[in-house]
């Protein structure tokens, strides 16, 4: 009896892992299916895109500008060791477009919108609002979740673009205006080194991140009542939201590596 206990535990956690993965998979499938299925109500998508996108713009501007500025500063310091300050433009642009833009934007969206979506849906689950939707024959996947997915997939790449542009301007500000790198060289280097592939990678990443963030946040909230640690009450919502934020942040970084490795 005593010997079999650890095996029981192992089997138990394996089973619950499989169950959870299956649930998440079916959840994503149902959401995407409902995205394709007509009708296509526009207004909820715009509302969600406004929440995820427009209301994140300020944060993205701020983080983008400072990221670009620090890149300009650090890049200048490193490049000047080799006497190649002229490469500052391409260094800033490439690191922003390929890596920092998509990743930092995604992390900001996780913090702002991911947590909010998880908490919102979790509370709706907790107070039987999702049951009420189902009883009114309103499909929560169609009504509640599909607009959020579409909004996320649209908003995150657009935010990433804003981040990139502002970041490059920030790098220009520090490099050219403050540190006296030649402005022409800054932009010439950028034109020469940034290729379509780099932009493509940035866009693919931000699309995947957008999907990933909404997926994890929405599914965590939606399946709050099935959480093993007990998803009850305010504490259940707060714990699940924390879980969702941590899990999405880690997933973003892991997928960032995977996509880079595949696309390079």
């Amino acid at each position: 009896m005593g010997l079999s206990k650890p095996f029981e535990k192992l089997g138990d956690s394996c089973l619950s892992f499989l169950e959870q993965s299956g649930r998440m998979g079916i959840f994503l499938f149902s959401c995407l299916l409902n995205l394709i299925k007509p009708p296509y109500p526009l207004f909820p998508v715009i509302r969600q895109a406004h929440f995820i996108g427009v209301r994140s713009v300020f944060v993205i501007l701020f983080t983008g500008a400072f990221t670009g500025m620090v890149l300009g500063l650090q890049g200048y310091y490193t490049l000047s060791k080799f006497g190649s300050e002229g490469l500052l433009g391409s260094a800033v642009a490439l690191s922003l477009i390929r890596e920092l833009g998509p990743v930092l934007t995604a992390l900001m969206v996780v913090g702002r919108a991911g947590s909010a979506i998880c908490a919102e849906i979790g509370i709706m689950r907790n107070s039987e609002q999702i049951d009420a939707l189902e009883c009114m024959a309103i499909d929560p996947y169609k009504y509640l979740l599909a607009p959020k997915f579409l909004a996320g997939i649209v908003a995150v790449p657009l935010l990433t673009c804003i981040f990139d542009v502002i970041g490059i301007l920030g790098g220009y500000l520090v490099g050219v205006v403050l540190l006296d790198v030649n402005g022409g060289t800054f932009f010439q280097g950028m034109y020469a080194s940034v290729e379509w592939q780099d932009i493509e990678m940035g866009i693919v990443k931000s699309l995947v991140f957008g999907l990933l963030i909404i997926w994890i946040a929405a599914a965590k909230g939606f399946f709050l009542h099935l959480e093993k640690s007990g998803g009850f009450g305010a504490e259940g919502v707060s714990r699940t939201t924390t879980d969702a934020v941590v899990l999405s942040s880690v997933s973003v970084l892991v997928w960032d590596y995977l996509i880079s490795a595949i696309m390079l």
């Binding site: 919102e120 509370i123 709706m124 107070s127 039987e128 609002q129 049951d131 009420a132 189902e134 009883c135 009114m136 024959a137 309103i138 499909d139 009504y143």
Partner: protein, 267 residues
Amino acid sequence: MQSDKTIQAAIELTGVEKTFGRQKVLANINLSIAAGKTTIIVGGSGQGKSVILKHMLGLVRPDRGMVEVFGKDLVRASKKELNQIRMEFGVLFQNAALFDSMTVYDNVALPLRERTKLTETEIRAKVREKLDMMDLIESDDKYPAQLSGGMKKRVGLARALVLNPKVVFFDEPTTGLDVSRSNEIYRLFHKTQSQLNYTAVIVSHDVPKIFKLADYVALLAEGEIQGVMSPEAFQLSDHPLIRRYVEETMGPIYSSAKEEAGLYESA
């Protein structure tokens, strides 16, 4: 049509079993809900009354057994069929389950907006009619958090009735309300049922007051329905579990037919 349909069952549960984790909640439920009538399900706390309701709504699938609504098996129904059946349902949840980021008006209008092709003007007329019925017409731009418990229930009832459903489910409609508020709910229930002629399924603790509304009372105990009968017959039943429940909730019942039977015979 009336005379045929009234005897027919709107909902029929046959041999329903449900286990959550290691706990068997429903052992063998056989229950038939008469169409056009009011059936009350009573029983101690934690016996699974709400679970039965969730089975009828198709929110929970039974481990074994059948749940038939208007002759259609919910367990085997496709999502589309299930939604079609649910179009005939109205539900008043225990805590009303109002959408808390929407106003009262939008809450009641939601089923119409999502499930019908009515124009906004027609929706407005219908919503106002239902809100008027519930004496809520002045609160239509308030949010659920700004309402009292009794008002929330009334909004929930207005929302449940807005599609003119054939069956309305009430999960503990008066729990947490004081006497006059619960009387108000009962009054509205009575009024709306006589207007709309819906079949009602009520899960309640409010014995014996709830008996006044009932056509049939069903006792859930030990995972089974112990009997469905008229409130009068329920209170006088010989069934040991029903008798115990009645005595626990209402005290010993005095029945002239029983207690004085010997008296009349000897006389």
